[in-house]
């Protein structure tokens, strides 16, 4: 039956034996999507595109890169100077890494605002947190590969965190390094894993999408689609809407790649790694700064490490911390205020992570860290009990039509 949908006889022949065309067709036309998604629902597609860009440019870079402490830095310079358009490939790879995190952070905050983590989408959300963790590991190892000063010292600082684990910490660090300091074996295994991890991410992305398609997208109102009047087909409506987002993404990426290619990096990473000379300030890449601030907010090393991991782990259990049956912040006046406070708090943590851990910055980091956990562990459970939510619309169509009239 499915095969008869296609007029092309070759497509029909293939589809009869291998129904990929039916599957694509199903996703394009039959998969119902709420009709009221705003542009924040572009960011999943954008993240997927960033992953593809990273993998494609990364494979080309790997063809020209040498994972050896004596040659890594100069092989990157060779890419920048002598490989045809190597500078372009590398700058795209570098900047798309940052854009990937920008996109994913917006994607996460969108989920937080509209309650996309709530039943029945808990697993979808948790898979997303897994992807986020894998991304952080991948990005960290990728930053080590050019073997500049920040590569080396960032790797030293971060791997040393594991030494805080009681009893086995030192052994774990030796195991990670493949020796007794960050050295050639470390670089080799980081290169190997940096090549592997994106494909693991791609695998989890497939699971993420399967979980998404079980119940479909959440939407800005946060109520389930009641029937065909509330939904539209993915194609052409969301393919074209995603294209607008893609165009905007590529435009901003092009501005970064072509005019500010090093703005999101650190100048010290153009100095070859030198184990004998510590940089004045060791800072991780900007996308790790909020977590770095949490790490340094605790005077105890183990405590800092635990708290940093807890900051991510708390996202795993978020669906059970926020028990409010109302998903969207639109109908949760108190939650909305605290959402924006959390947003400001995260920006503040990012700012503080880039500052030296001294004076007022330490105190502010502690306050901001405290607020982060207070939000998830105390405020959200309490809001679920005490907040008076606004009445929900009866269906998606109702307010959609209402706004349409209002605008006209």
């Amino acid at each position: 039956m499915a095969a008869e949908k296609f007029s092309n006889p070759v497509v029909r022949w293939v589809d009869h034996r291998l129904p990929i065309f039916s599957m694509l067709d199903h996703e394009k036309y039959d998969y119902p999507v709420p009709k009221n998604l705003n542009y924040f629902w572009n960011f999943g597609v954008l993240a997927g595109m960033a992953l593809v860009i990273m993998i494609v440019t990364g494979i080309v870079l790997a063809m020209n890169y040498t994972a050896h402490v004596d040659h890594a830095f100069s092989s990157v310079e060779r890419i920048m100077r002598d490989v045809n358009h190597g500078w372009l490939i590398r700058y795209i790879h570098m900047n798309t890494a940052s854009f990937f995190f920008i996109v994913v952070y917006i994607h996460i905050f969108r989920g937080l605002y509209y309650g996309s983590y709530k039943a029945p989408r808990e697993l979808l959300w948790m898979l997303g947190v897994v992807i986020f963790l894998l991304m952080m590991a991948t990005a960290f190892m990728g930053y080590v590969l050019p073997w500049g000063q920040m590569s080396f010292w960032g790797a030293t600082v971060i791997t040393n965190l594991f030494s805080a684990i009681p009893f086995v910490g030192e052994s774990i660090v030796t195991f990670l390094w493949g020796g007794f300091s960050v050295d050639n074996p470390t670089l080799n295994r980081f290169f190997s894993l940096h090549y592997l991890m994106p494909f693991v991410i791609a695998g989890v992305v497939v699971l993420h999408i399967i979980a998404l398609h079980r119940f479909g997208s959440n939407n800005p109102i946060g109520i389930d689609a009641k029937g065909p009047q509330d939904t539209i087909s993915f194609h052409p409506y969301y393919t074209i809407k995603d294209m607008v987002g893609v165009a905007m993404f590529l435009l901003l990426l092009a501005v970064a790649v072509f005019f500010f290619p090093n703005a999101m990096g650190h100048p010290d990473n153009y100095i070859p790694a030198n184990p004998m000379q510590t940089p004045a300030h060791i800072v991780p890449e900007w996308y790790f700064l909020p977590f770095y601030a949490i790490l340094r907010a605790v005077p105890d090393k183990l405590g800092g490490v635990l708290l940093m991991f807890a900051a991510i782990f708390v996202l795993f259990v978020l669906p059970w911390l926020d028990r409010s049956p109302v998903r969207s912040a639109r109908f949760r006046p108190m939650f909305r205020i605290f959402f924006w406070l959390l947003f400001i708090d995260c920006i503040a943590l990012g700012y503080l992570g880039g500052k030296p851990a001294e004076g007022i910055y330490v105190l502010l980091s502690r306050i901001a860290t405290g607020w982060y956990f207070l939000h998830f562990l105390v405020l959200l459970p309490m809001l679920s009990i005490f907040e008076t939510t606004k009445p929900l619309p009866k269906s998606i169509s109702e307010p959609v039509l209402a706004t349409a009239k209002g605008v006209a």
Binding site: N38, F40, L251, A263, P267
Partner: protein, 256 residues
């Protein structure tokens, strides 16, 4: 509403973008003077005359202590030299080659494909000849320092009398642009250090500016083509964005 959301997203991007240069700021009372750079901005280009003069300054003033290990003579084509000129410049240098048929290493005049020889064989020799200080390689220096061009320009011109409360140890010099203000490099440029053949002013500012120009090129030799492609890419993608948006409006017209 939609526009508000987009504006918010753009604001987030901008906030992230702006927050990063803060990290690069070093410690100490550092004063930078801003130079006028032809390579700044989206239509920036390298001034070939300035680069050739800067190369001359590098050769006659800096190269005694600082190498440029990633620059080959053939790269000098970017400065506007033709093949014969590059061959002539390369031939002024000797490089080690070999082993020959007898297994011996030997010296020969450099060819365009050779990398520029560095003044010292290794870091230890460099330190031994410079009071224990290591003169950094200059191939990437303009990218390896925050605000590279302005920083280098200010550093070269930043030598000054130390204020009364600053004690300058032997073998160190006071420099207002250097982090911590004490630098091991003696003042390299006083004005008229080299003889320009094109009549350009050889004032300290002129020499520092030309040298910075050359070093910026050395660190980022593909900048011109990068910006040229960038202008085309941004133009194309802007059109693509507008077309996508119009197409989207048209497709969605039947829904709203």
């Amino acid at each position: 509403m939609r526009r508000v959301l987009i504006a918010a997203a753009v604001a987030c991007l901008a906030a992230v973008g702006l927050s990063t240069p803060v990290l690069a700021a070093g410690a100490g009372s550092v004063k930078l003077q801003a130079g006028e750079w032809s390579f700044a901005g989206p239509f920036g280009y390298f001034d070939k005359g300035a680069m050739q003069r800067g190369f001359q300054v590098y050769r006659e003033v800096c190269a005694g202590c600082h190498g440029m290990e990633y620059i080959a003579f053939r790269n000098l084509a970017d400065l506007g030299y033709n093949e014969a000129e590059i061959k002539a410049i390369a031939a002024e240098y000797e490089v080690m080659d070999g082993p020959d048929d007898e297994g011996e290493m030997f010296m020969r005049p450099a060819r365009p494909a050779d990398l520029m020889p560095t003044p010292y064989r290794n870091d230890n020799e460099a330190r031994a000849n410079n009071n224990g200080a290591l003169p950094p390689d200059l191939s990437l220096i303009a990218k390896a320092r925050a605000n590279g061009a302005d920083y280098l320009y200010s550093l070269i011109l930043g030598y000054d009398e130390a204020p009364a409360d600053v004690e300058v140890p032997d073998g160190m010099y006071y420099n207002s642009a250097y982090s911590g203000n004490l630098i091991a490099m003696p003042q390299p440029i006083y004005g008229d250090d080299v003889e320009y053949t094109d009549g350009a002013p050889s004032t300290p500012e002129g020499l520092a500016s030309d040298l910075t120009h050359f070093l910026m090129w050395a660190a980022e030799p593909k900048m011109e083509i990068r910006k040229r492609i960038g202008v085309a890419a941004v133009f194309f993608l802007s059109i693509f964005l507008i077309m996508s948006y119009l197409a989207k409006r048209r497709v969605w017209a039947e829904i709203h």
